[in-house]
């Protein structure tokens, strides 16, 4: 009994931190309609800054709490700077650009933090005056955690007062509902938004700095917390503070008790909880339908540039590509093989984004499932390569069939969040199911058999399979299936009213895209000879998004060009520096700000202008 009570209390302490971070995220979303991926970075840097300050001044209670407050304020200032430098230019962009742009900031901040504080985990000192523990029904419980438990409701109360009892709060709530009308009444929205980012990021920084006495400060804190905060915000209802509080409590308890019952799959539990809530209450626990983010179609100004040219080009390119082994060396062939695989991966994502208007943030799940499918068939069943390769799209397609049923129920940002959640589920299964997947160590020794071991043979095999899959995707785009998908993207309501079952087409597209990505993953596993959980992780999904974005969303050949450029950048530029995250992050931010139409869109823009 007393053990359960202490467990519940520690769940409350977790919930408090979770609430501090998620409240900032939900406030920022409510006003700016941007899901700030970089929110976790402010939490992480808040913890690092808090650590440094506490080391220096944290000997006394005043010094400790002053350090925590200073770290929070510093994060607020950085958040305001990000609003002015980046977010302000993204308010009218499609959500894909907003998510990617802020993810670019995540990468940049990771490298800058590593540069400033070093790669080692840091252990902070305990809070002076709160080092001991108190006995609760004969079980010791840390005093500091009790303080945290009290802090959650306190911050909720203060925020409520701020939003309901001050002019600033009233203006923010007004701008949340109708930005344009608020500015027509003489309120400068830009200054309001800068203030909101200050507040939101300061809360994240506060959450981070308060963690210093509880756990070590690491470079992995940012992604871990931001994904959890996403779940909290989505479960609570996007933009709802009370909802975030409630969801934090629930998820805190879910984690505290889940670890007792299913220690292996606590992560899975959290994401399953989110998926179930979203299916039962589509707008979250306390969210309202009108708070649903608008689904800005990815700037559909030009219809998909069609066809005949792309087909001719592809036919002309094929013999050139097929002849490559005659001149290229082994290294170049390996590179080319990977480019071809990534082109299929990117094109499969493009099917969802470009045609369906469905921005998936978890496409790596299917790539990784394909890769693991092949590797597991080889490892556990000793399957020959053709069978293992055939298994890749099947496993990925089945995974996408299940996940897609949930995901296509929602559109826009909720779709992005759901796909992210499913990718995290798959990732955590692979990561935690050590006996089968090898966990962090991955699966090694997945090489092609003798007849396909030559670099040239494997390249031809890849080219044939990917070429065939690409041709299928291309055909699908200009078949009635593709038209229905695009109709659903541009106006779901009108498409429904002419008899198109939009959701079913989106589901089919989701499965098709998943299977295609799975085939790419299977080929990738044999090309590399090994698979690791990183293949299913968020950065891999982002890579695919960057390829699609680089190529340009509204061009059918875009993803192919994007894959070529991205992979060359990755292997020829980023591998030369330890700061590849910084480089990649800056590339992403630049892409989002300067070349929103991608390479192909940019080139055809120049062509049509002259």
């Amino acid at each position: 009994m007393s053990f359960l009570l202490v467990q519940a209390l520690s769940g409350l302490a977790t919930a408090a931190t979770l609430f501090l971070v998620s409240s900032g995220l939900t406030i920022v979303f409510g006003v700016t309609r941007i899901v700030n991926f970089a929110h976790g970075s402010f939490y992480m840097v808040g913890a690092y800054a808090g650590w440094s300050l506490i080391e220096r001044f944290g000997g006394t209670p005043a010094g400790f709490w002053g350090s925590v407050a200073a770290a929070a304020l510093a994060m607020g200032v950085l958040g305001a700077a990000m609003e002015i430098g980046l977010l302000r230019r993204l308010y009218r962009s499609p959500e894909l650009f907003q998510l990617l742009g802020t993810f670019g900031v995540v990468l940049v901040v990771q490298d800058l933090t590593a540069w400033a504080w070093g790669p080692e985990d840091l252990l902070g000192r305990r809070a002076p005056g709160l080092k001991g523990s108190i006995d609760i029904l004969d079980q010791p419980f840390p005093l500091y955690d009790l303080v945290l438990i009290g802090l959650g409701p306190l911050v909720l109360g203060l925020l409520w007062l701020l939003f309901n009892r001050t002019r600033w709060g009233t203006l923010v709530r007004a701008a949340t509902q109708d930005r344009e009308m608020t500015s027509a009444l003489g309120v400068d929205p830009a200054r309001l938004f800068t203030g909101v980012l200050f507040l939101g990021c300061a809360l994240a920084g506060l959450g981070g700095a308060l963690q210093v006495p509880r756990e070590s400060v690491t470079l992995q804190m940012d992604m871990a917390i931001v994904v959890e905060a996403f779940v909290v915000v989505v479960v609570g209802g996007m933009g709802s503070l009370t909802g975030a509080f409630l969801a934090s409590l629930l998820i805190g308890q879910l984690q505290a008790f889940g670890i007792l019952v299913f220690p292996q799959i606590t992560l899975v539990l959290v994401f399953l909880f989110m998926a179930v809530v979203l299916v039962l209450r589509p707008h979250g626990l306390l969210g309202r339908p009108d708070e649903a983010p608008p689904t800005a179609p990815a700037t559909v100004t030009v219809p998909l540039l069609a066809g005949r040219h792309a087909g001719t080009w592809a036919l002309a390119l094929l013999p050139v590509l097929a002849a490559a082994p005659l001149v290229a060396g082994d290294y170049a062939l390996i590179l080319l093989t990977e480019v071809v695989i990534l082109a299929l991966f990117a094109a499969s994502l493009h099917l969802l984004i470009g045609l369906g208007g469905l921005v998936s943030f978890g496409h790596a799940a299917w790539f990784g499932l394909g890769a693991y499918g092949s590797a597991l068939l080889v490892r556990h069943l000793d399957a020959p390569m053709p069978l293992a390769l055939a298994g890749a799209p099947v496993l990925a397609g089945l995974g996408a069939l299940v996940a897609g049923w949930f995901c296509v129920r929602r559109s826009g940002l909720y779709f992005a969040m759901l796909t992210l959640a499913f990718a995290q589920i798959v990732w955590s299964i692979v990561f935690q199911w050590y006996a089968v997947t090898g966990g962090d160590n991955g699966i090694l020794g997945v090489w092609p058999p003798g007849w396909a071991a030559g670099k040239a043979t494997y390249y031809w095999l890849t080219l044939a399979l990917c070429g065939g899959a690409l041709w299928l995707l291309y055909r699908a785009a200009f078949a009635p299936f593709g038209y229905a998908l695009r109709a659903g993207r541009d106006s779901g309501l009108r498409a429904e009213s002419v008899g198109i079952d939009v959701r079913r087409f989106q589901w089919m597209a989701f499965v098709l895209a998943g299977a295609a990505a799975g085939l790419a993953g299977g080929l990738y596993a044999f090309a590399k000879g090994s698979v690791f959980p990183t293949l299913l992780a968020v950065p891999q999904s982002v890579d695919a998004l960057v390829m699609v974005l680089m190529g340009g969303i509204q061009t059918i050949t875009g993803p192919l060009a994007g894959a070529v450029v991205f992979h060359l950048l990755e292997s020829e530029v980023m591998s030369l520096t330890d700061w590849w995250r910084l480089v990649l992050g800056l590339i992403i931010v630049a892409l989002v700000l300067v070349f929103p139409k991608g390479i192909v869109g940019f080139l055809s823009g120049i062509r049509s202008r002259t």
Binding site: R167, L171, R173, S183, A184, L185
Partner: protein, 237 residues
């Protein structure tokens, strides 16, 4: 004669690629009520939005109180003393009546009548009884009153009033007309868009008639009421 409060010339406006306004010209004098008349889709609402800076626009002259507006964003225009009352009301539904008024509040402005919630509650007695009520729980007429009151909280000297009588019960329309006349008596200038000739003739001094984004006719309200040709060509449905 001193310069008009608002001078618009060569006003063009776009929604994306659609060219909506093509060379609108009009003036509103100090203390004058001008009605912008025209059929559905003629460009009345867009004209008001263009003056307010809410749509992409260009103009050879867009001057208010001797200040050029073309380069200013909406909130700066509002702070100069231009009050905008949208046709679709756009009440902040989650905010109470008093909070809606608070959003509109700006410092008093020399040369313009200055308003407090109490003065506005005297002008619109219905609102006084529901000051703590949220916008979602108000009738259309009450919302229209609140929209107007909210804009007045900014102490404007010029009011851009978009279709004030649209969709309201006859009794409320009469109250609305009374309110506009009282605002004029307080010294406010008003540019209102209207489809209803009877409402316009009850409150306006002059009229500008537009069709398909162009100015077609301008004159006093009395002239418009007697000119059957203009009414038949541009206003009759």
């Amino acid at each position: 004669m001193s310069e008009a409060l608002l001078t618009v010339d060569g006003l063009q406006a776009w929604y994306g690629r659609a060219h909506i306004l093509d060379g609108i010209a009009l003036t509103v004098g100090h203390g004058e009520v001008v009605a912008l008349m025209g059929r559905n889709g003629a460009g009345k609402t867009t004209t008001l939005k263009a003056i307010m800076g809410l749509v992409e626009r260009r103009a050879t002259t867009l001057r208010f109180d001797r200040r050029e507006l073309s380069a200013l964003p909406a909130h700066r225009i509002a702070r100069l003393g231009v009050g905008y009352v949208p046709e679709d009301r756009r009440i902040f539904a989650d905010l109470t009546v008093e909070e809606n008024l608070e959003v509109g509040r700006q410092p008093p402005r020399p040369g313009a009548p200055s308003w407090t919630p109490e003065k506005l509650f005297a002008l619109f007695p219905n609102l006084a009884e529901m000051r703590g009520r949220r916008g979602t729980r108000m009738s259309g007429g009450e919302q229209q009153m609140l929209t107007l009151a909210r804009t007045l909280m900014g102490n404007p000297s010029l009011l851009l009033l978009d279709e004030p009588s649209e969709g309201l019960a006859p009794l409320i329309v009469r109250q609305m007309a009374d309110a506009v006349r009282r605002l004029k008596a307080e010294g406010l200038s008003v540019l209102l868009s209207e489809q209803s000739l009877s409402f316009a003739s009850a409150v306006a001094d002059r009229a500008c008639v537009i069709e398909t984004g162009r100015l077609r006719w301008t004159g006093t309200m009395t002239e418009l009421m007697t000119d059957n040709g203009v009414r038949a060509a541009y206003l009759a449905v």
